[in-house]
Amino acid sequence: MKKGKEDLPRRDFMKALASSAGLALAGCGQTEPPTYGHLLRMGDLLTYKAHRLLLPEHALAREYDYGDISSVPAIGTTNPADPARSIYSAEHGPVYEKLLADEFADWKLTVEGSVLRPAAFTLAELKRLPSRTQITRHACEEGWSAICQWTGVPLRSILEAVGLQPGARYVQFHAYDDLADGIDMLDALHPQTILAYGMNGRELPLGHGAPLRLRVETQVGYKSMKFLRRIVVTEHFDDNGSQGAIQNGWSWYAGI
């Protein structure tokens, strides 16, 4: 997506258009996912709204047996410390390299934003919290699928530990490869939405997002962000700029 200062007035106009379109579609205001006056984003918003209206809340994605676990490719960023990869952060890549060398002994997940008690969790602290293990199907937007076992802390436990401020509506995830993305509170509080540190009974392998990744079982694969470093709870929708899905041409909601 093209960006630049000259686009700003146009983007403000788009936002004004979008909020009126959003109002018409959703009956809400700026706290809704924007459409930027873009036809495809209006379709995405319609799908999101229809899912929230028509689908049962917090229904569990199917869980499988241990014997169903399958082979699974590691795609996208498979090592945030590798500058040769197409997605690499000059700021966070070298930090990740050090953390990786120390087997994530100094790694911390910060949780901040619209929370009552901002906190940072080490891997050991996360592992001491009650865990959830689930064998679920990963569905990639590309069309492939795999069944894997994931072990981690329900995101809900973390959000309860830091305490949500009234008005908290979205949870944003920031990763070491400089990608950022968010989910709404309904998906964030879903019992199967976990911060996973284990995969198939082992430590989460490097290619699959070590040391900690998100699992959102009600959306396609790209929402389950890998290599987490920071979680920010927000009251308003955040498209995360050029780090987010939308400005790279992807739908923010991917339950379909």
Binding site: D44, S71, T78, E141, G143, S145, G249
Partner: protein, 261 residues
């Protein structure tokens, strides 16, 4: 339109065509636009992972049922070395896709969003068509063949009719020929609903709410494979449909479906 025995009359003068009603014409062209957008983006989406499977699981590290030469994406051999998840032979493996920064075709960003937008258009139009069609009797009167019409000899006769040069006596609109009714009915009542249901089976949020869909089609990848073959059937129908429009007078048929008779 195939000439003749629309009302199973033998050699009798075919009944005068009543033309297409305005709501049928509007639905027809909206569905054409939606279908073309879905077909185009569907091929784009398939090209991102041009392999089909059966069951719940399918990816580059497991064997495919069918592989299409649609893009350079299907290169399982170009993965990094496989790592076993358990120390037993045949255990599931993982491997890293290393050719991503090299060449990887993926236009799914807009492809998927346009696919779903067009699907909304088709679902809305399809529902309107079924509701109006049911309330006006169009579905039963013009579309669904009568059971007693479906004798092998009548079907064979209508098939042979299609091979002859088509006369000018068939109008644009109902009554339709036997095979014509049959093919329209299969598209409206079988292929398009199957397309929608197998499409929804690929949506993680939908199958969380309605896991029955996964059982109905035998899994996520089975649904994807059925979705593809339904697409093939619909494209074959489109080709036959356009061929018959050309054979029975392209200008006249297009006029009948746009301006009415």
């Amino acid at each position: 339109m195939p000439a003749g025995d629309a009302a199973a009359g033998d050699g009798a003068t075919p009944p005068q065509s009543s033309g297409h009603r305005a709501w049928v014409r509007l639905c027809h062209w909206t569905i054409v636009a939606g279908f073309l957008a879905l077909a185009f983006t569907g091929v784009m989406i398939l090209a991102v992972h041009p392999r089909l499977y059966w069951g719940e699981v399918g990816n580059d590290l497991v064997p495919a049922l069918i592989e299409f030469p649609l893009s350079g994406n299907s290169r399982p051999a170009d993965y990094g070395p496989a790592t076993l998840f358990a120390d037993v032979p045949g255990a599931p493996v993982t491997a890293t896709r290393d050719y991503e920064h090299d060449y990887f075709f993926n236009e799914n960003g807009w492809g998927r969003s346009l696919h779903f937008l067009a699907a909304w258009v088709l679902v809305a139009t399809g529902l309107a068509y079924l509701l109006i069609g049911a309330s006006t009797g169009h579905l039963w009167r013009d579309l669904l063949p009568r059971l007693r019409e479906l004798s092998p000899s009548a079907l064979w006769r209508d098939f042979r009719n299609h091979l002859k040069p088509q006369g000018d006596d068939s109008g644009g609109g109902p009554p339709y020929g036997l095979l014509q009714k049959l093919s329209y009915s299969v598209v409206v009542f079988v292929a398009l609903p199957l397309m929608l249901l197998t499409g929804l089976t690929m949506a993680p949020a939908v199958t969380a709410g309605y896991p029955l869909l996964l059982d109905l089609f035998g899994g996520y990848q089975s649904a994807r494979t059925i979705h593809f073959f339904c697409f093939v059937a619909l494209v074959l129908f489109l080709l036959a449909h356009v061929a018959m429009v050309v054979a029975t007078g392209f200008r006249r048929q297009i006029r009948a479906m746009t301006l009415g008779n």
